[in-house]
Assembly symmetry: C2
Homo-oligomer: 246 residues x 2
Amino acid sequence: MEPVFGETERNVARSVELIEAAADRGVQLVVLPELCNTGYVFETRGEAKALAEDVPSGPSTAAWIAAVAARNLHIVGITEREGDTLYNSAVVIGPDGLVGRYRKMHLWADEALFFAPGNLGFPVFETAVGRLGVRICYDGWFPESYRLAALQGAEIVCVPTNWVPIPGQDPARAAMANTLVMAAAHTNSIFVAAADRVGTERGQPFIGQSLIVGPPGWPVAGPAGTDGEEILVARVNLADARRKRN
Amino acid sequence: MEPVFGETERNVARSVELIEAAADRGVQLVVLPELCNTGYVFETRGEAKALAEDVPSGPSTAAWIAAVAARNLHIVGITEREGDTLYNSAVVIGPDGLVGRYRKMHLWADEALFFAPGNLGFPVFETAVGRLGVRICYDGWFPESYRLAALQGAEIVCVPTNWVPIPGQDPARAAMANTLVMAAAHTNSIFVAAADRVGTERGQPFIGQSLIVGPPGWPVAGPAGTDGEEILVARVNLADARRKRN
């Protein structure tokens, strides 16, 4: 996705179009990018607070709940507000509504100015489509966070993300972020589905290259391109994640 | 290196040739493959015990100590014997003799039939050429083991290894083992120097592809080829590992 900063209604409508397009292809689990409802590059905490929403009563979560009421599961990034506290969160939604939420633990760079670190630990959600963990962007730089998911039986870890270019790094080179996803899948023998955004927001570019990786560590879909919206689809057998073979 | 099983004297002599060739090029730290003095594919514990040596009095360590007495530091893999207990160990040797030893923690497959798991924890060695950690082969499948090195201030982790092909994996593909090394370097902002063996021993092939990786996660030397002995050299500034920039 290429969210537009501050245009929550437009962004959520676009995400619903993409969710429906994926569902029409038989997809049972959709992962959207980090903070895809609001955009990412906040300049002030007030701005973040104005765009943050309660879960599940806020308009973004409500729209997604409505969109998947007759479908299967999806996961999205959202700026969450609980009283005066803001989180960089992801909601897990199924046909029956909200399954749970994950609040990003490892805040990157200026995120710490706007958000509080997650206070819900690293939950694994038992769903009809598998045991799901969620990690958001910079969480993936901490291999322990994937390990904690695997130790709780997660079969797939969904990663809403907003990957940025690394200064000094050759942009023609594959993303180091992809290397981390592959290593996490291989060392834990799990699936990882990472959905990045594309486009430039307030001068900050994002690198795309979303991918879905299987327990051996190799991509089963993607990496996607560096720009343009794209739906990556993979058909997988989550039982492969229950055999720990390394 | 391509060690020959059971021919310790020949293997150590060959390793000394390679150490001297590297030293002639100004190298200050040499990493040799796992168990490069004895070979790897033991069939019985008795066989392993007969080839195991005390440290530092055994002939392999003694030969290496002599070889580097006027040089800088190197690290090697060795089958270590302490009384009736065998370890898959690496010795760290400097110009003044034995600096320390690391005993492999994560025994892979049949190794558990021959060796006891390491009982010395994950030491970091302060040396004239930097703060060194050591991990052996399958240890690298546990990202926590690199993290424990970094948390103790290691600037470079040396990895004597005997990587084997992964069943069902396209041999033309880059080694997943390299992906794990790159992820470990990047997520900890450290150097990693992994020295694999080549050749086939008692029907077991090894995959080569040794590499040296910098804190950004990209190789600064290698990966080496899949067969043939090779010396990989990189000139690095270990201070880069002290800046944690991710």
